[in-house]
Amino acid sequence: MTDRTENLVLVLPGLLLLALAFFVPIARMLVLSVEGEAGLTLTHFERFLSDPFYLSVLWRTVRLSLIITLICAAIGFPMAYIMAHVGPRLRLWLIVLVILPLMTSVVIRTFGWMVLLGRSGLIPEILRDLGLAERNFAIMRTEAAIVIGMVQVLLPFMTLSILGVITRIDRRLEEAARTMGCSFLGTLRTVVLPLAMPGIVAGSLLVFTLSASSFVTPNLLGGSRIQVLAASIYRSVTQTLDWPFAAAQAVILFAGVLLILIPYAQLTRRADG
């Protein structure tokens, strides 16, 4: 056997698994989304795109995902910077601290937030006691609840993506910038941030895709009134049993995410070049 065929044989199981577990379902979904009673049809897409309710669900999904990504980046960057600059022992502890939430189920953590954010929960109560909120103030079943819960779930992905890049930035570069008249914050902005961009991009891609397609946390924290696309798909599958419409929504989500991510990834590749 030549090296080439040997390599092919080695990669075959992986390819098969990928084909069976990934490409076949996606193809099935694509086919299902254009399936009608009389052959191929685009009625499911038309129905989605002409109904203001579904458009608002789509818009909310994209908007919340963007906000979540932004907040994760805004928290994750300084966090990763600090983790990269402390001693190795403290860094280990911080990494454990960041990863720890990943070790419990999303459902459990979301129930935790429900307890904290509910009408008689800890956080609204404190805000009311401090006089910062009105009597009937609640965070549960608002978009804010979804954002808070999702940021907590997704922050580790962002932080660890950025951490990997920041630890590889030569510390001398920051020192050099300081000797050239940059303040500490100026150095963060003009040196560390541009050089950490690949990590921020990778983290953003992860966080954005995961939050756009997430179901459990938005559904539990947002309630049935504030739906995101994944929840709407779930409803179509389990309640109205309209599988073709669910497939069409999934395709729209898939296309929407790609539409936003591809230009973003290219933009940063150029900036990195």
Partner: protein, 351 residues
């Protein structure tokens, strides 16, 4: 007037004190080398001047202003790093313009003009659009130099900037450094472990050993009159031979541990046990069977051929002595030889 004034600088990392009270004044326009073996504290001292390390005690003044508590960006300095530290995400031109931009010097047009001028002085104006990583090591080095001088800082700090270059480029850069220093008249602190570099570049050498100033002086002075055994060994790599001084018939002479003796120059005041510092290049070899002179009897152990010269390792009694010989005669290992030296070239150091 001093541009850099260090007084009583000490620095501890944890419980380890690495600098033990260093005081030093560098005059305006002076080129001073901080010379020492690795780990002697010279780089730490430079970083303290830059503001990248804090002092444990003592004070730093630059241009008659106490800057001990000021961060690096508020000191009027520029620093060139061993690894060059060019910003990889900026073009060569933007790297050189960076200090002007950050310090807010001049308008945009003036910044561009000065950055272009600085790149021209290092003959790299045509590479301004490249990224640093597309340049060779020598070119990156010159970009770093251009970037360091573009803002005309009061004090230029150089942290072993030449040590990553090969021998040929290094000589070119030394010339370039001296020319730029002379042209701009920048007060310069230069850290190096290479005594040749220090001797050829500096107005003054500060020899540092284990966090203390061992000796300070002009290159010729420190080379010709090393004050301590460490200094004479580090600069010029002298052989240190234990001996004791006696009064002989024709003046003082040094008696070695194996009983041989060697004549000394007249102005030797020490008596008793001393260390003789004998420069490798001051010692000469002669065949042992030639007319008996007052040379020391010794035996060749190894010879290393260096082209124009040869380096010999010689056994002188129990002491090992290195000799650089330019003579035509070659000796092989095991040959018996006589070691001779001009008495005036022997340094007598108290033990």
């Amino acid at each position: 007037m001093a541009d850099v004034h260090l007084s009583g600088i000490t620095k501890s990392f944890g419980n380890v004190e690495v600098l033990h009270g260093i005081s030093l004044a560098v005059a305006s326009g002076e080129f001073v080398s901080l010379l020492g073996a690795s780990g002697c504290g010279k780089t730490t001292l430079l970083r303290i001047v830059a503001g990248l390390e804090t002092v444990t005690s003592g004070s730093v003044a630059i241009a008659d202003r106490d800057v001990t508590a000021l961060p690096p960006e508020r000191r009027d300095i520029a620093m060139m790093f061993q690894s060059y530290a060019l910003l990889p995400h900026l073009s060569v031109f933007e790297n050189v313009r960076f200090p002007l931009r950050m310090r807010g010097i001049g308008t945009r047009a003036e910044q561009h003009e000065r950055a272009r001028d600085a790149l021209e002085t290092v003959q790299l104006a045509h590479l301004g659009d490249r990224r640093p990583r597309q340049l060779s090591g020598g070119q990156q080095q010159r970009v770093a130099l251009a970037r360091a001088v573009v803002s005309r800082p009061k004090v230029l700090l150089l942290d072993e900037p030449l040590s990553n270059l090969d021998a040929r480029l290094r000589e070119d850069m030394q010339v370039e450094l001296i020319e730029i220093h002379n042209r701009l008249g920048l007060t310069t602190l230069f850290v190096t472990h290479d005594q040749d570099e220090a001797l050829s570049l500096s107005d003054r050498i500060v020899l540092i050993n284990q966090g203390r100033i061992e000796q300070m002086g002009a290159p010729a002075e420190i080379y010709d009159r090393p004050a301590t055994a460490y200094a004479s060994n580090f600069i010029g790599a002298a052989n240190l031979v234990p001996a004791s001084i006696e009064d002989g018939a024709g003046g003082p002479l040094a008696r070695l541990e194996d009983g041989q003796h060697i004549a000394l120059g007249d102005q030797v005041d020490e008596r008793g046990p001393v260390t003789l510092a004998l420069r490798q290049e001051d010692l000469a070899l002669a065949p042992a069977d030639a007319d008996a002179g007052d040379g020391l009897k010794a035996q060749v152990r190894t010879r290393v051929f260096l082209g124009a010269r040869s380096r010999y390792v010689i056994a002188l009694g129990d002491t090992v002595v290195r000799v650089i010989d330019t003579g035509r005669a070659t000796f092989r290992s095991g040959d018996r030889v006589r070691l001779t030296i001009d008495p005036e070239r022997i340094r007598v150091l108290p033990r």
